[in-house]
Symmetry: C2
Subunit: 321 residues, 2 copies
């Protein structure tokens, strides 16, 4: 029996699963964030080590050691070769850890380092062919076909892209409110919604909130539900914003489908991220548009967690040896 670790490392938490080669999850552990570009390498190492320790500890008696043959780390913000080298260094340090009750049996092919989108795809669908449409604070669409070719669209961050994301929906909502206030565009209930939610005397005070209090991307993105709710309640302007977001996500997804899949392919698109939970039925709008364009494509919610996807990818690295 082979044992592997699957790690999902993000900006708010790190999740680790311990999995055997029958895809059974034997243990699961959580720890703090592990996006090393924000919090540094040492803190990232600690989070990952702690998540692994919890996962292993759940499965194995504390006095015993477990033999780990593969590891997959799916981390946010991993895109450049330089990032991968940094993570390889982290794995070396894990192998020297005095804390973990692990006998490491890793080989170069069984250390898988990838972006968090890929593990979300594999976990969300349950195998490694399909498309993930990840829409939270940011947005990215990633597909993988049977030949193992991947295609990514989006994921360019809040300034350069992230179309359809919570950040973009929130910003579009505030812009629309201010345009209505200026008299440039039609009236919208968003003016009152933002005033109420942010406790503003005047919608002009958005300037105070956004610039003088130096709100960050996540804080702004957290205002997206205001737009979502206004849309659900029938506000025309809010509905245009939601429809625009859907259009962008449909276009990005269509591009991935057209690029790496044969026309008419039967495949699944998994949606993950906070934006899909909205009350304005953004998931429905998206699924309806996709199925109209691609009748053989099914839009689903995730079957498993990204960390589970990382575990599957770790196991696959052993099959491929």
């Amino acid at each position: 029996m082979s044992y592997v670790l699957g790690i999902d490392g993000g900006g708010s938490k790190t999740v680790c699963v311990l999995m055997d080669d029958s895809h059974q999850v034997l243990g699961c552990g959580e720890a703090g964030p592990s996006n090393y570009q924000s919090i540094g390498i040492e803190a990232t190492l600690q989070s990952i080590e702690s998540a692994i320790y919890s996962a292993v500890n759940e499965a194995v008696e504390i006095t015993k050691f477990i033999r780990i043959e593969a590891i997959c780390l799916g981390l946010a913000g991993i895109s450049r070769l330089a990032d991968i080298e940094v993570v390889k260094g982290l794995v070396k340090k894990l192998q020297n850890s005095q804390v973990l009750p692990i006998i490491w049996a890793l080989q170069s092919f069984s250390i898988v380092i990838c972006n968090d989108a890929l593990i979300a795809l594999v976990g969300g669908i349950g195998h490694n062919v399909g498309i993930v449409v990840a829409v939270g604070t940011g947005s990215i669409v990633l597909g993988r076909n049977h030949q193992g070719n991947t295609k990514r669209v989006g994921g360019w961050g809040y300034i350069l892209g992230d179309e359809g994301s919570a950040y973009k929906i929130a910003v579009a909502g505030m812009q629309a409110a201010l345009k209505a206030y200026d008299g440039r565009e039609i009236a919208t209930s968003l003016v009152e919604s933002f005033k109420q939610h942010l406790n503003l005397t005047n919608i002009e005070d958005l300037i105070e909130v956004i610039y003088r209090r130096r709100w960050g991307v996540k804080q702004i993105a957290a205002l997206a539900p205001i737009v979502d709710l206004a849309a659900a309640e029938g506000d025309k302007v809010a509905n245009i914003i939601i429809d625009d977001a859907v259009k962008e996500l449909v276009k990005a997804t269509s591009t991935v489908i057209d690029t790496i899949f044969i026309p008419g392919s039967v495949l699944e698109v998994v949606t993950i991220g906070s934006v899909w939970q909205g009350r304005a039925k953004i998931h429905n709008r998206f699924a309806t548009s996709i199925i109209q364009k691609f009748p053989n494509v099914k839009v689903i919610f995730p079957r498993y967690e990204p960390a589970y996807g990382a575990g599957l990818l770790a196991l696959q690295s052993l099959d491929a040896k």
Copy 2:
């Protein structure tokens, strides 16, 4: 003969003119920035004092004093009452200055504190009725009618608004380049333009430039000429971006006209800011659209500097007493 000071305080420099009641400029001085929200009150005071000193020094023998009856300060970022109180405090400190060869004869009505858009309007047109369309890093449209009513549209900053601004043009250009690279939208010469200008191996490296090097709003806005040039050279995508910017500015200007001017009014719209200097004839496109909608409205370049406008407003405060 009455003498007044007109001060134009911005993020990069402070300009002061010394003017008499026949609108003659007797002296002009320049100093460093004076946006107190960024650089602090002490540094702002120093810039303003230094600009005044240079202006007065140009006109008056160093041993003699000049009697100043009014002052107008048009400063960037002045919008709230709290800001005006801060600037009033600055004026008090100027009146106690040991450096300035000035006998102050200010009264409460002859201390005019306003936003930099208003002095740009008055300076640009040469009197205080009309509209200014200020489009640099940010964008704002401000109008003033014969009754003294003002209407502002835009000026909400780079996150909440600034439609048509250099920042928005630059960001739209980069987004379009990345969408073309993704295969989501039609090809554009902007991909090559940004690569060449920023010395990138791959257009993906925009992420490196914008996020990892933490480029600010001004640095990003300074990329707008890349989009402008591509548009001038016929690139379709770049031209759509420029046309969208023009549409936003026309809409904002139309809103100001419709709000405070009687239909058919003869009036002037002055355009100031870096965006109007572009090679893609954005000024022409704007003027053509405006004149189609409002045949009695003339789009002009500025007649005088904003500091001159501040001087005129200072003089007007004396007339109004």
